[in-house]
């Protein structure tokens, strides 16, 4: 589903975010991407969403070579990806409902279905009572959950999340990861960038580790504390 072939991303001669990175994520996988700040995680996610183009190499997502993709096809490609941004990217002047409704408008969903679908997406992140609130009236954690609801509202083929639990307490982290796991069960391929070591170690999922723009490790995490891992990933495979 997501394939990187010898991808290098260089911003200038002194700054190279990714060096000859090759990896493959198959359809239906749930993968963690980890590494210290500045390791190249966000750059990788931006390449997947084609927010930027690689300097060298190829990125293929859902069978599309992103380098060869026409600009006119880009919006339709992005609709297949549910992206959770690190800075949430919620539209501040819109209410929570309007933020979700806007996505549904973009997708061509009839307005009469907007309320039902928005409510259902918000219920999944336990924020259905915040339908009419504005993003700035919410805490960082709540905004993050709204961003997650927005990313999942369309059951996307691929879910890409940049530090989706960065602002959440352990209980909410568990809840959110469970939501991603459910989406994964429904068929979405999930890639989560995080540096929450504990979360990764308990996941039992494949982990790609980046360091200074290079993949330094690729393994399946072995849960250290089974009870919590089961509680988080109990429904996953």
């Amino acid at each position: 589903m997501i394939h990187f072939y010898h991808v290098t991303k260089r911003f200038d001669q002194y700054s190279t975010a990714l060096h000859d990175v090759t990896f493959h994520i198959e359809k239906g996988e749930f993968v963690f991407l980890t590494g210290a700040s500045g390791a190249g995680k966000s750059t990788m996610l931006k390449l997947i969403l084609r927010q930027m183009q690689p300097t060298d190499g190829q990125v293929v997502v859902n069978g599309r070579n992103l380098k060869a993709m026409k600009r006119s096809q880009l919006p339709f490609f992005r609709r297949e990806i549910g992206m959770v941004f690190q800075d949430f990217k919620l539209i501040e002047r819109m209410t929570v409902f309007e933020n979700l409704s806007f996505i549904l408008t973009v997708l061509g969903v009839p307005p009469r279905e907007h309320k039902k679908r928005a409510y259902s997406a918000l219920r999944a992140v336990s924020l259905h009572h915040k339908l009419n609130a504005y993003p700035l009236q919410l805490s960082g954690g709540e905004q993050q959950r709204i961003a997650i609801a927005r990313a999942l509202i369309n059951d996307p083929l691929v879910i890409v999340a940049d530090e989706p639990t960065g602002n959440l307490d352990p209980d909410l982290t568990q809840e959110i990861i469970q939501i991603f796991a459910e989406a994964n069960l429904r068929g979405s391929t999930v890639l989560i960038a995080t540096h929450d070591r504990e979360l990764i170690e308990q996941s039992g999922r494949r982990v790609i580790t980046l360091d200074h723009g290079r993949i330094t490790d690729e393994k399946v995490a072995v849960p250290q504390r089974a009870p919590r891992a089961e509680s988080i990933f109990g429904i996953g495979g």
Binding site: L49, Q51, R71, P75, F76, F77, R78, R79, E80, M83, F85, K89, L90, I91, R93, F102, I103, T105, V106, L107, G108, P110, P111, R150, N154, L157
Partner: protein, 308 residues
Amino acid sequence: MPSRDDALPKTTLSYFFREAIRRMWVSKRTSFVAVAMIAISLFIVGAFLLVAENLGRAVAQAGGKSRVNIYLDVDATPQQIAAVDAWLAAHHDFAGRRFVSKEVALARFRQYFANLSDVVGQLDENPFPASFECEIAPAVAQSPAFANVSSELRSIAGVDEVQYDWEWVEKLKKLINLVNIAGLAAGGLLAIAAAFTIANVIRLTMLLYREEIDIMRLVGATERMIRGPFLIEGVLQGFIGAAVSIALLLTAFLSGRHFLAPRNSLLWGFLFNGFLPWRKLLALIAGGMLAGFLGSWLSVRESGEERA
């Protein structure tokens, strides 16, 4: 998965309008400037059109018949007047003749040029000559044979001048063309300025929504979805500007007719004869919307180029 149908659904159009109206409301001041520019431009175009329209009506009223005015000498004797009358009676082309005495001519002047009547009152004697007004079929009046008849008329004692109104009709037609061209030129220039004002207003709005536009692109909105509300905003500004200009024009017209026309002067009578026909009003509205569209199109096109 989402539909890839590129046609604009009704919901998208309603989104365009809702967003455009909301953005105009949020940026009330800049929107006001754009609307005012359009309104001023189209008011000027409309004013020229209105003058030309009413002059055109005057021409049309005169167009069905040709009038010949035979002015007599100021000191023409009753015998000379009778001789002219007899000559006219003998020529059946002049069958529809009417005698206008010096007194009637003076009274008409006082009626048409009310503000100059005092000047005439200060004169010792009536300066206006008596005349015969004859209505002649246009085909006859403009035939070569008629030229001989009129030169014979000029040679009769007591006849001072023979004037044909189709001469001033022709002059008026030229004037109408001139007014139309001047109106279109002045209005066109102002409309271009208005379009650029709208372009700048839309550019400002796009800057204001830059972050939001980026988010829209990231979640899969097409360029049409992003640009649509801005284009509609420009068109709406143009439409409102045109509507305001028509309202101002109608107010000016009705005020003019109310305050100036009762003075019954010839000029005001001509100018306030009637308002613009609906076709020209529609053209003004279409012009406003076009200027708005061009302005916003210019801005969204630039934003696309920047992105590329």
